[in-house]
Each structure stands twice: as C-alpha cells, then as structure tokens.
C-alpha cells in the first residue's frame, strides 16, 4: 500500500470521525485554539515592542557616535563617572579639525525651558543648542522646512527646528514655519519641523527644540556639559573611527598612558544589545508560559485519542483482519490527531489575527508571517507528538483480541 493512499484514507477516516463526534472534537480543539491564540499574540506583542524600540533607537542614527561623560548603560557604577570633567564645545571643534574618519561633528547642550506661541504653552520643551553638523550627525528626519545652515549656526541666529509634539501643542491649524515661538522668553523663528518619532523615547524626542549653540549660550548660559555627536564617514570603519576619536580626546584631555578614558563613546548598538537581552528574556519567559497552554491542549488531544482508540478497538480489529498493517493503523490515528490540531491551529490564527489588530492600536505591530508558519508547524507537531502514544497502542493491538472487543 503506497504512502499517498495511506494518507488519503487516513484523512477520510479523520474527517469522518471528527464529524461524527462534533462536540468532543470542538472541546478537544479548543485547547489547541487557546494555545495557538496565546502563543501568537505573545509573539505579536514581542514583535511590537521590538519594532517600537528599533524605531525609537533609529533616532540616534546609524554610524553616529555619542561622545559623553557617561556611558549609556552605566548600571551601578554611575558614581565613578560623576567626577569626570565636563566635555566642552572646544573638544567638538578639535574633533572636527583633526578627525579624518568623521563626516560631521556637532556639540549638543541641553536644558528644559517653556515654549510659548501666542497664548499656547508647552511647559517642558527640551531645548538643545547645536551646530549645523547635527543634521548629519543624528538620526532625526525633518518633515517640513530645513535645518539651520553653517552661517546661521556660526552667527547664532534666533531660529529653531521643533519636534512634532511641540507643533501639536503650540499650533492648532497653523503652519508653524516662519512663526515666532518664545523659548524661555526669547523669540525664535521656526525654520523646520521634525517628523513625529513616537515610540519609547517619543515624549523626549518629540518635545525637542533645536537652536544654534551660540544662541543657546547667550540665552541660557554656557556652563552645560556637552555631548558630541559624530557621524562616521561613509566607508570608514566604526571601530577605527572610535579609536581615532579616543586618541584625539585623550590628548585634548591630557590623559597619560595608563590612565583610563574619562569619557565614553556611545552608539545605538549598545542600547540595542541591552534591549535585545531584556526582550530575549521577557520573550522567552512569555513564550514558555503561553507554550504551557499549548502543552495542556496537547495533553487533551492525547487523552481523547486514547479514548478514541479504545472506542474503536473493534474497528481496528476489522481493519487489521482485512489487511491493514501496523504502520497503516499508526498513520491513521496520527493523521487524525494532527488534523484536529491543525484545525485548532487554523481557528487559533483566525481568532488571533483580529486580536493582533487590536494590539496594533496600542503598540504598532503586525502578526509576523513567520509566526503564522510556526503556529501551523507547532500545531502539526503537537498533533503528531500527542497522538503518537495512542496511535502506537492502536497499531500494536492483537487482531484476535480487537475483533472480540465489544
């Protein structure tokens, strides 16, 4: 008997049995349905967190290095970095002059000020002073207008580029370009508007106001610690660029050989790594817990298959008497439990898909295609694994005993 016929006969029997025991099939399938729904939704949720983080992190820019007093992932050692000397604008200028592997360098200083347009107020705007190089040395995208030019930057013009949330708060239906907003009491012309970032860092990034660093110094003081953004030149290796920056910075800060760096060179990959560790653990635990429900569903299948085998002992005897081999009987019951699980898997996906659209409202995501394929495969595997013992028992039945069974 060839394989195709065997499978076909198995399918016919499986569907007939499932139809004949409707209530039982529905209840058994339910376990798998719940399992698949929870696993796929969990995976969709993890995908959503991943995506929003990737998107958020992209604001830091690829191949952009952040030279700072503190490392991004300092942990408990924060106190040891606290006494380091501030970084200054001069360091940025030095890097711009000396570094060969950098495309753009921009010092960034920050403060929090009130932003006001007419009677509308945004209390906590994150005001950054920087240079024209920032546009290249960051991952931010301008939606309308432009960034300030070198002349405007050097001249300390009273102009600004504002984040999406600043626009939404201060301007109702007006075009913000060309308008004058008061930042900490000082008037600034809006020349550009950033694309909305959203995501994990959205509240921070979308509330930003970028102004020339010279304007910043004259309005809010120049004592602030500086972050230096540096965009690695196209074609240059990031590690090489880091080494070059280290050399220039160590010399500028007068560090002797053997002394540790008193600054850090940060990049978004550090955040990604840390994040991937966290989501890896959360995802693993989450999938394990939801996987348990699938496991319970599988036990339900196994249980009902045992019942089914016992109930159909006589049928198995008849089939064996007229020539069914062990593996034919084995295949028959395996196919049956696989079909129940596959149906459960499909129903689970059909239920999970609209639910994933609801999740999408809170956390931009989409059910990954991979999880659909994995869900189908997993339900198939659950079916085969939990059907195996009952099917094996059926295949080993003695035909004489089985025929005598009533």
């Amino acid at each position: 008997m060839n394989f195709f016929l065997e499978v076909k006969e198995g399918l016919v029997i499986a569907f007939r049995t499932i139809r004949a025991n409707k209530m039982r099939s529905v209840l058994t399938t339910l376990g798998i349905v719940i399992g698949i729904v929870s696993v796929t939704l969990m995976a969709t949720g993890i995908e959503g967190v991943d995506r929003s983080f990737q998107k958020s992190v992209s604001a830091f820019g690829t191949k952009v290095l952040y030279i700072q007093k503190f490392p991004w992932m300092a942990g408990d050692e924060w106190w040891s970095y606290r006494n380091r000397r501030d970084l200054r604008v001069e360091h940025a200028e030095l890097l711009e002059r000396q570094a060969t592997l950098l495309e753009a360098v921009a010092p960034v200083v920050g403060t929090v000020r009130q932003a006001k347009y007419g009677s509308r107020v945004l209390e906590n705007a994150y005001v950054n002073g920087t240079t024209n190089g920032y546009n290249t040395a960051s991952g931010m995208t301008i939606r309308d207008g432009r960034f300030f030019s070198q002349e405007e930057s050097n001249g300390g013009r009273p102009i600004c580029v504002i984040g999406a949330n600043v626009v939404e708060t201060l301007f109702l239906n007006e075009d913000p370009l060309g308008k004058v907003v008061k930042i900490g009491g000082f008037p600034y012309h809006v020349v550009g508007v950033y694309e909305k970032q959203g995501g994990l860092f959205g509240t921070f990034i979308d509330n930003q106001v970028k102004i020339p660093i010279k304007s910043f110094a004259s309005h809010y003081g120049s004592h602030h610690d500086v972050t230096i953004n540096a965009k690695v030149a196209a074609g240059a290796d990031i590690e090489d660029a880091k080494e070059e920056i280290r050399g220039i910075m160590r010399k500028a800060r007068g560090l002797l050989p053997g002394q540790k760096d008193d600054f850090n060179i940060n990049q978004q990959e550090v955040l990604l790594q840390a994040f991937n560790q966290v989501t890896g653990v959360i995802g693993g635990v989450g999938l394990f817990i939801t996987g348990l429900s699938l496991f319970v569903g599988g036990i339900g299948i196994m249980n009902i298959m045992f019942v089914s085998v016992t109930e159909r002992t006589k049928e198995i005897g008849i089939r064996k008497a007229i020539g069914a081999r062990r593996r034919t009987i084995l295949a028959q019951f395996l196919i049956e439990s696989a079909i129940i699980c596959l149906i459960g898997g499909f129903i689970g996906l059909i239920i999970a898909y609209p639910l994933s659209l609801i999740v999408d409202q809170f956390l931009p995501t989409a059910m990954p295609v991979s999880i659909i394929i994995v869900a189908i495969l997993v339900s198939l595997v659950v079916g085969v694994v939990s059907g195996f013992l009952p099917a094996y028992r059926a295949s080993r039945l003695d035909p004489v005993e089985a025929l005598r069974y009533e």
Binding site: I318, I322, A324
Partner: protein, 237 residues
C-alpha cells in the same frame, strides 16, 4: 498439486497467568483448491483458535503452516497482514463492517490496503457488490441495510481481492433461517465459481452445505470426512 493450506502438527498454547491452556494439541490437515470445507466443533473445542491460525490472525506455538506452499508459521505482523489482505477473505458472524462507511467503501477497503488505484478499486468493488446482488445498495450504510444485506456486503468484501480462501466464521449465526439459507446459497455459487471456502460452524445443517466436514474436539481432529451425497439447497418460497 500444492494444497492451499497445509497444517502439520499445529499446537497452540495460551499462557493465562500460571496456567497453560493447550487449545490445539497437534492438528494436521490439507485443504486443496476449490474445496468447500466445514470445520465443526463444540465451544471450547479449539475451532476458533484453529480458524484464527488458518486466517493468519494468530500464529501457532509449534507446527508447520504452509499457505500455497509458503511457510507462514513464523511470519511477522506485517507479512501476515499482507497474506490476510491478498489471500484471505473473511466473513464474520457479526458482519464486522465499518459502521460509518457505505457499502462501497467497506468493499473497497481491502483494495485500499492493497494499494489499488481509485478507479480500478471502484470497478472491482462494484462488480463484487453486483455478484452478491447489492448493486442497488452501493451507497447505503450498514445501519440502512438488513442483516442479510450486511452479510452480503461482507461477502463482497471477502471476494473483492480474489483471495485464495474464503474463511467464514458462523456466517449465519446472526441471521434468521431464511436469510441464512440465502447466504448459504450465495456460498454455493461462489464455490461453483472456483473459490475455496472454509466454513466454521457448530450447526449441523449449515455444515451440510460443505463437501467435507472436519470435526474438532479437545484440540485435535476427531474426524475428517468427505460428503459425497448431492446436497440440496432448501427451497424457500
């Protein structure tokens, strides 16, 4: 000519806990092609055990069983399944049809296990059903058929693979006399077409249809006689 069935000193011992039950204590017999044999014996005589061994549902504890000259005494499960599928057509007392399948599918089943392609299968199954006069009940399920019709489906299923022997175990046991006679008439026809029939029964008037009667008692062959007298099919109006 090689006999279809050759049994040489077949014994069968069952272990029931500490006790040993010797169901067959050395049975030897040959059955040739186109014989019509009845195996008779009271319950507990060992005739069911003998039938199971002849039908390759069970294997003997000792002794030699040649089926068409091939030794089947120590075949494994799969080889026995193949013999049952291709060489033996079973007819049971309780019909043993698949309840959820229609007549056609029941008759097709041995061909499915034999790997016969679908179109050929249907053709064979339909002609077997025609042979037992059930061409008009092809798509009826067992519970939509009378007892006699069910047994005829079972006979069709036994015939469909053109087996070497038809093995019938009390085929009329669950039927009334009239229907039983019809079934016995059907066996007569099948025998006349050249088939070998082995009938297991404890009823004399059923055994009388056969051309040879083997009586089993206490696990041995008690008598083995050929019936020469012309057998009459009871006329029922």
């Amino acid at each position: 000519m090689t006999p279809v069935i050759h049994l040489g000193q077949i014994t069968k011992v069952y272990d029931i806990g500490a006790e040993e039950v010797r169901a067959l204590r050395g049975v030897s017999l040959d059955i040739d092609k186109n014989e019509y044999v009845a195996i008779m014996g009271p319950s507990g005589s060992g005739k069911s055990t003998l039938m199971n061994i002849i039908g390759c549902l069970d294997t003997p504890s000792a002794g030699q069983y040649l089926f068409n000259g091939v030794n089947v005494s120590d075949m494994n499960d799969n080889q026995l399944a193949k013999i049952r599928n291709k060489e033996i057509g079973f007819v049971f007392q309780t019909f043993n049809l698949l309840a959820r399948s229609d007549a056609l599918h029941n008759v097709e089943l041995p061909l499915i296990y034999a790997g016969v392609p679908a179109s050929e299968r249907k053709e064979h199954a339909l002609s077997a059903l025609q042979q037992v006069n059930l061409a008009d009940r092809v798509h009826h399920k067992p519970n939509e058929l009378s007892g006699g019709q069910r047994q005829r489906v079972a006979v069709a299923r036994a015939l469909v693979t053109k087996p070497s022997i038809i093995l019938a175990d009390e085929p009329t046991g669950n039927l009334d006399t009239k229907t039983g006679d019809e079934i016995m008439g059907l066996f007569e026809e099948i025998h006349n077409q050249g088939n070998t029939i082995i009938l297991v029964t404890h009823e004399e008037y059923i055994a009388e249809h056969a051309k040879r009667i083997i009586r089993i008692r206490d696990g041995v062959v008690e008598s083995d006689e050929r019936v020469s007298r012309p057998k009459s099919i009871p006329v029922t109006a």
